[in-house]
């Protein structure tokens, strides 16, 4: 089993675990974490593909990963923001009803 194959298995494995987590995890924070795991899997595949025996690693793929990381951060921040707001609203309505 070559190094490349190991990385490929790991990245697709991460993607699959994340996908399962998004579908099956009960807690909303776990779903958000699962999305992050999926994105880590994709980035890992991108970085693995950048291997170049002849010269420097492929910079286009590295740039893609950098952009992807920033986009993932933005998505996670928005998801946490929305989840927190819903939580605050449900806490307040629970208090009001008591």
């Amino acid at each position: 089993m070559t190094q490349d194959s190991l990385y490929i298995i790991a990245s697709v494995g991460l993607f699959g675990i994340g996908l399962y987590g998004v579908i099956a995890a009960p807690h909303i924070l776990r779903k958000i974490l699962a999305i992050n795991i999926m994105s880590v899997g994709v980035f890992m595949l991108l970085v693995t593909s950048a291997k170049n025996v002849n010269s420097t690693p492929d910079p286009v793929l590295h740039a893609m990963v950098l952009t992807g990381i920033v986009v993932a951060i933005a998505g996670t921040a928005l998801a946490l923001f929305l989840a927190g707001k819903i939580h605050a609203l449900s806490e307040a309505s629970d208090e009001d009803s008591h």
Binding site: M38, V71, A74, L78, A79, I86
Partner: protein
């Protein structure tokens, strides 16, 4: 044709203009100034899109100018990113510009709520313009990774707009939409990784030249399809759409149903029929068509059962999106034309359908928004006797509904007729049956609302609580909705405008 003025600078302008509008509306403090700048920008964008369209049609007859390309930063593909449009993309850009103009004017009046001291426009306008920029950038993009970034802009901006209300229902719907959107984008990104590993380029044109029916290409296509189907809300992955479109403010629902779901469909059409066409199997195309037929049936049934007006319109979107997916099986017979650009009679019919549906659905959502603003609720059962108070909105609803059903002389009738023609020419008459049945079911849910609205309330029998208007509606809001509905009638009479456009970019 090269002697004509080279107007390809208009391509990046269509991305830059909404971006500048977004920056300006973030910085400005006065909400009146924000609204005025937005309307001015929407007008400019409309004129630029019209100029681009006429330039494209004028130069489209030459064999060399298949479609226009613009190499950003001066490096051509594959090193740099190219903007590229053909007839179909130009049509979508024009549709975006037209809808943006009407909806911007509508939003200027919609967000001026008399009882609230909240200024939602501080967040609405920047997000709105970022959404429009994302949509334009997607239609113009010629690079698959660039498309990923534009998909994310569209997704995040749309989610933030849905959550604008701040109510628990809206926030929950927005969060669900966000999770689904992120899931879809990640599937798409994985496919981009696969395609780069297989072909070494990210450019759409270069991919279409080298694509082969290998396992990797097929895996990438499946992943892209899954991701984009999640974003287009095709049955059975539609669960997020009704609540997201039903809980958003009216102009946001309009742009979501009319344009945002069409962007991912546009990508599907482009990738299945143009770029990755060699990997598109016949059974895959058929599968998409079957899912489309299921969407028509299921969406119409749910629309009949909806209790809220906006939910009904959202389910109607789910149903109408099913018609779009009939493109795939109907493009089957053109074996030679596949891979040669997005053209052909099926594509023309679907392009027409997209325009007709966008105008009709936006008109419907605006009318529903008007009703909600006037009465404070939108429960269908309580809308008895609506016709007395809001005749114009109801007329808008009726005309838009007629287009959705497919009654002449609306654009909806023409698009369905074109689709039926294509289906019969391709000897796939079962799709024709589905199309006709869909029209029948649409008639059922539209007439249900109209029936209730036009029934006059018996004044003496106080069996139901009185349904009185609580807000006065600015006339211009009703006029905007009515304008969009009339657009469907106008397009019903002038089919050649659109059909000629879609054939630009044909490979002769």
């Amino acid at each position: 044709m090269d002697s004509l003025l080279n107007l390809d600078i208009l391509l990046p302008t269509l991305v830059g203009l909404p971006l500048i509008a977004a920056i300006l509306t973030t910085l400005l403090k006065s909400h009146g100034l924000r609204a005025s700048i937005s309307i001015a920008m929407a007008l400019t964008q409309f004129m630029i899109a019209a100029a681009l369209l006429s330039w494209l049609s004028g130069s489209g007859t030459s064999l060399e100018t298949q479609y226009q390309r613009y190499s950003l930063a001066g490096w051509g593909a594959p090193l740099g990113i190219d903007l590229a449009i053909d007839g179909f993309a130009a049509l979508m850009l024009m549709l975006t510009a037209a809808l943006t103009l009407v909806l911007t004017v509508y939003s200027r009046y919609y967000f001026f709520e008399p009882h609230s001291r909240l200024d939602k426009t501080a967040r609405f306008w920047p997000l709105w313009w970022l959404l429009i920029m994302g949509i334009n950038a997607l239609f113009l993009s010629g690079d698959i990774f660039n498309i990923y970034v534009t998909l994310e802009i569209i997704g995040l901006a749309a989610v933030s707009l849905v959550a604008l209300d701040g109510s628990r229902a809206a926030l929950t719907a927005a969060l669900r939409y966000l999770l689904v959107g992120l899931l879809g984008s990640l599937c798409y990104l994985l496919a981009v990784a696969l395609l780069y590993r297989a072909y070494g380029t990210l450019d759409l044109a270069q991919l279409s030249a080298v694509a082969e029916p290998t396992a990797i290409t097929w895996a990438a296509l499946v992943l892209i399809t899954t991701g984009l189907l999640l974003k287009t809300a095709l049955v059975p992955l539609h669960f997020w759409l009704p609540l997201a479109h039903g809980s958003a403010p009216a102009p946001v629902s309009a742009i979501l149903s009319a344009l945002v779901v069409k962007t991912s469909f546009y990508l599907l059409a482009r990738l299945w029929l143009d770029t990755l066409a060699p990997a598109a199997t016949d059974s895959g195309l058929l599968m998409l068509g079957i899912l489309g037929a299921a969407a028509i049936c299921w969406g119409s049934i749910q629309a009949l059962r909806a209790t809220r007006l906006k939910l009904m319109v959202a389910y109607s979107t789910v149903a109408q999106l099913g018609y779009l997916f009939l493109l795939f099986p109907l493009a089957l017979p053109d074996e030679d034309a596949r891979g040669a650009g997005l053209s052909g009679p099926a594509v023309s019919a679907i392009g027409y359908f997209i325009v007709a549906h966008a105008c009709a659905k936006a008109a419907m959502f605006l009318a529903a928004g008007n009703i909600m603003r006037t009465f404070g609720h939108d429960e269908i059962a309580r809308l008895r006797g609506l016709a007395k108070y809001m005749p114009l909105s109801l007329l808008t609803f009726a005309i838009a509904g007629a287009s959705l059903i497919g009654l002449p002389p609306s654009a909806g009738f023409l698009s369905k007729w074109l689709l039926l023609n294509v289906a019969i020419d391709a000897a796939q008459w079962w799709w024709a049956i589905i199309i006709l049945m869909g029209g029948l079911m649409a008639a059922m849910y539209v007439f249900r609302v109209l029936n209730i609205a036009f029934t006059s309330v018996d004044e003496e029998a106080q069996t139901e609580p009185k349904n009185l208007p609580i807000n006065k509606l600015p006339t211009i809001m009703s006029l905007c909705a009515f304008l969009l509905a009339m657009l469907t009638v106008v397009l019903g009479f002038n089919a050649e405008l659109i059909l000629d456009l879609v054939t630009v970019g044909d490979d002769v």
